[in-house]
Amino acid sequence: MVDFALTHAWLVPLLPALAFVIIVFLTRPWPKLSGAVSIAAMFSSFVLASSVAYGVFTNPGFIERPLIYSLRWFGMEGFTVDVGVMLDPTSAMMLFMVSMVATLIQIYSTGYMHGDPQYSVFFSYLSLFAASMLGLVISSNLLQMFILWELVGLCSFLLIGFYTFKISAREAAKKAFITTRIGDFGMLLGLLFLQIIFGTLDLAGLAERVPHYEQYGISLGLLTLIAILVFIGPIGKSGQFPLHVWLPDAMEGPTPVSALIHAATMVVAGVYLVGRTLFLFSEVPGAAEVIAFIGAFTAIFAATIAITQREIKRILAYSTVSQLGYMMLALGVGSLSAGMFHLWTHAFFKALMFLGAGSVLHALHDKADVWEMGGLIKKMPITGWTFVIGGLAIAGIPPFAGFWSKDEILVVTLEYARQGHALGYLLFFLASFTALLTAFYMWRMIFLTFFGKEKPENHPHESPLSMTFPLLVLAALAAVGGLIGTPWANVWGKWIHFGHPHHGEPNYGLMFFSVALAVAGIGLAYRLYYQDEEKKLAKQLAERYQPLYKLSYHKYYIDELYQWFTRQVVDASAAVFYWFDIHVVDNIVNGLAGATKLSGQGLRYFHTGRIQTYALVFFLALLVITVVLAFGSPTLAGSMGGVHS
């Protein structure tokens, strides 16, 4: 089985793709069947992926030498593209994680989307998404990865705009698509540079060649530029500042989509890409610093927005942005293991929280404002307690998963600072402050939603088993998923690392510090939103710091800024180009066309429209030419006559 799985890892993305095809072409009229097909494909994918993961993790050889097999897709002089599968612990981990979360979320969706007229379509999209994401994860080639990256973007577009009747959903879908396109464009440029300079886009090949960039005749500056360009892609996809704006809006999609795409899988694609191309970034310290700073800034920036938001999914969205910044920070400071570890744990607890939020929304009939909720834990015990586990995990309370990964990041950041990098301590400070804020806003939400007084106008009920089952599984994982990366027995770091397996000693001080931060955050939230039944203090604070509150509540007016920019700058330049097009380009074209038309008018009378006449003339000419060639000139005749094989 394991051997089969290893040699057939390509089946992992193929099965959901197949499910997509089957649903679209065959089973669309039968929603139940479509769902079953989708889940069956996903589950078999998951089984395969688990086997792959097992195979990879039981074979230490794969760490150093990834299992790569590939197929020539197309090739021409000096340019060949292979498509293939690359299996190393990182991709195996991602395969496992993505397929599992996707399976759980599809199961969840059977309950969540029950009765939707577009049920089959939804599952087909989910399948397609899973296929693209899994394909992305195991890509051995940056071009292949890019294509699937785009496909993932497409699916995201389709799923965000799934409720096509909602204008906001359509707008959000467009926004997400366009914003990520901006990032993708930069990334495409970067990839083109890589291809031109290094002559390959194979990850393995690039990893070999990039360190010796001098041999390829480029300077460090150019390499930095390339790295930044490549990084623009992840900025877009992983919602880093300043291209984060699409992610909160993307919550217009159905909740399982938010959970799957905007928490666990797609948004981490950027992180994954950075992780995969870390050989590039590690080569250029400038770029790495940029990543680290953008990550840290995004983390704190999103966290400050999150503390004032009211909609449950929006809070989670900003939290996601913030956590993604965390991962970027880890990668920026050069630790693949920390980044990936946080990715891993984050996937579980964030998916859990999103699904929990979905469950809440489902129960409250899409009422999203946390201020209108309260006391839900009594009516929805499973949802509530799993959500609390998620909250503990994200806040960083040991032994839940988030603690270990967050701790790891803090450790590596501190190390980075200690290594003497300028502003390294700033990064550390930002990270720690973010941790405080994270605990605060998360628990603010939890207290507001699940505790406190029940609101009489709500009639919540626990969700069906198909929805609570994934919650339970994810909660379990969020609770224990981090234990494979504890500082004492860091299995994780042994497997997933860049460069040398590196692991610091357990830093108890730091651990205590981070726990203290988390407890402080939770405590603050407790004080403000649980103890204080009327929430007077919170309101007072908001009154007192009105400008700050507004700034945060309106997300620092980034959207408005973009809009202004578009209106003023882009439209103006468009007007200029329009004038040029109308008066210069068109005249040239029209002039050419006029000349052609005149000559055509003269020549058209040779055209009788009778095809047989044409053929007759053609063959007459052919005959004449053949005769002349074959018998007219002796030299040609000789060469024609001798048809030697």
Binding site: Q612, T613, L616, F619, L620, L622, L623, T626, V627, A630, M640, G641, G642, V643, H644, S645
Partner: protein
């Protein structure tokens, strides 16, 4: 011995092919033309068998005699049901066309006669299908796929064409 028989077979088949082909292009009744065309295709399939290409022969019969001709028959029926007697007239060009094709045949014949082909002398392997399959599905997989897509597209297009115009025709 064998050569004599194969030569005999060749002569017979060639006579069958050329005779029926001539009938196809000269008969006045289009349906008869199509039916003679089938005879010609079967003759060609026989030639293929003579050339040890049994798979191609079967394809020839299946596709040409079985499908193409039926399609033609259908087309004939759709465009002109009544009075098939003189459904296939000759236009004024035949006076020019006859010497032209005669000339073409003579030229090609002369060129063929002049050319010296190097006969390899090897025999075609008997297991044609087993030999053809890997070539078709490995070396020629792209053309194979392209041909498949072409067929699909062509037939879909044909369907669309016929349907579309029918709707228009009803409307006008």
């Amino acid at each position: 011995m064998d050569n004599v028989y194969s030569l005999l077979a060749f002569v017979l088949l060639a006579g069958m092919i050329l005779g029926s082909a001539l009938l196809v292009v000269t008969l006045r009744n289009l349906v008869h033309s199509v039916l003679w065309l089938i005879v010609m295709f079967i003759g060609v399939a026989g030639t293929f068998l003579l050339l040890n290409a049994d798979f191609v022969a079967a394809v020839q019969v299946l596709v040409y005699a079985g499908a193409v001709c039926i399609m033609l028959v259908f087309g004939v029926m759709l465009v002109q049901r009544p009075n098939m007697e003189h459904s296939n007239p000759i236009n004024w060009r035949f006076k020019l066309a006859a010497p032209l094709v005669g000339g073409l045949f003579i030229v090609i014949g002369l060129l063929t006669a002049k050319s010296q082909l190097v006969v390899s002398g090897q025999e075609v392997p008997a297991q044609t299908v087993q030999a053809l399959a890997p070539i078709l599905l490995n070396d020629f997989v792209i053309p194979f796929e392209v041909a498949a897509i072409l067929l699909t597209v062509a037939l879909t297009g044909a369907l669309l064409l016929v349907k579309e115009v029918k709707a228009n025709g009803n409307g006008s």
